[in-house]
Symmetry: C2
Subunit: 229 residues, 2 copies
């Protein structure tokens, strides 16, 4: 019982720090997206495609979460307005980013010069679903080679997602992935979810994904302005 109590306390404390993070982001008019997926589904690739597509429209910063290594930050560093690496290996939570880590990362970002913050979470379909970071939107990437049963097997993360990006559609002819069945299972679990089919390798579908992101940022900006007025 002691452990369960501790977990509840940890989650409550995390939510309160996530709320602080969001207030800070709102103050600086930064739109934050928490990007989650299995290892290798394409978080960094989607971030790179997004940075390339939006580079003339937005100033985008990236927080890179990883258990170990700076492989992803290296790929992103010359393409974003700013990049912060969080390495979780020796932290008390190593299987996900938590709000406290993001709070510290925000301190080292030039908040007045950022419009969009992409947070690449640790590669994992379980732990990240439990920890809010202060983000405005939660995005899950799945990829064709993983198989179409992931919403059934990892329901928590798919149920809470604002958008799901189906990546690696260029492999459609080489793997067994039933897109209509995946969509059907996902919508049963999460009727409001937005779904995008993309290939971060060929660039297919990236326009739609970026249009949605811009639309959501715009909606959020108006909401903040209206509240402020």
């Amino acid at each position: 019982m002691k452990r369960i109590e501790v977990i509840k306390n940890v989650l409550d404390a995390n939510q309160s720090i996530a709320d602080q993070n969001q207030r800070l982001l709102n103050k600086h008019q930064i739109f934050a997206v928490n990007i989650m997926s299995s290892p290798g589904a394409g978080k960094t690739s989607l971030i790179l495609q997004t940075l390339a597509k939006l580079k003339n429209k937005l100033r985008t910063a990236v927080i890179e979460g990883d258990v170990a290594s700076t492989v992803d930050s290296e790929k992103v560093k010359d393409k974003a307005t700013a990049v912060v690496q969080i390495t979780t290996r020796y932290m008390s939570e190593n299987c996900t980013l938590i709000a406290n880590m993001v709070s510290r990362a925000l301190k080292s970002l030039p908040l007045d010069n950022i419009d969009l913050l992409l947070i690449e979470n640790v590669g994992n379909l379980i732990c990240p679903s439990e920890f809010a970071l202060g983000e405005h939107k939660r995005v899950v990437i799945t990829s064709l080679p993983e198989g179409d049963d992931k919403p059934t097997k990892y329901p928590m993360i798919f149920a809470d997602a604002d958008a799901v990006v189906i990546n690696k559609v260029d492999l459609q002819n080489y793997v067994d992935f039933d897109v209509p069945s995946f969509r059907n299972n996902l919508v049963n679990l999460n009727p409001e979810v937005k779904i995008f089919e993309v290939s971060c390798k060929t660039g297919a579908g990236i326009d739609n994904w970026c249009s949605w992101l811009l639309h959501e940022m715009d909606a959020k900006a108006h909401q903040v302005t209206n509240k402020g007025g």
Copy 2:
């Protein structure tokens, strides 16, 4: 600090139950393998290939660990001597199997009629590396579409593996995965590791994998006999 202490206590308690599990398995001359990977890398597919290949040689039971759903048990149930499903969604640890769950599963298996126990862990490259279950061998599956940087990004699980199975080699021409570079990084981290290249789709490489399994079972059986004599 309280949380870190609790985690240490949890890991110590887990190791002691894992040791009990292994003593019980040894008593019944059962060889147990803990199979870990990202979601969708091919744990169930490797188990199905192994069951098919060894069905006339061994009596094999399977423990299926999943956050939710019985999708994998359904696939395996008619092909194994016995199958037990563990669903972790509402447990205090939901991102990995722990020794206590396996201990309970062992109670419902016909231990005198089993030679090999394949334990499919929850799809995750982080949490399962911390929790021993009582297994004799630890196997990590990686798959070509995930990319070749996984040992660098998830070093704990790869450093502790007895064997790494590189799955989905049938996709070699369609994805960027540098096999020599992967092997090199892995061996730097874990010089003793056995590496197998397989396709659970075509069956390529499954013979080598099963030969290793039989060889290791044989070595273990002699070790137990010698100790007993």
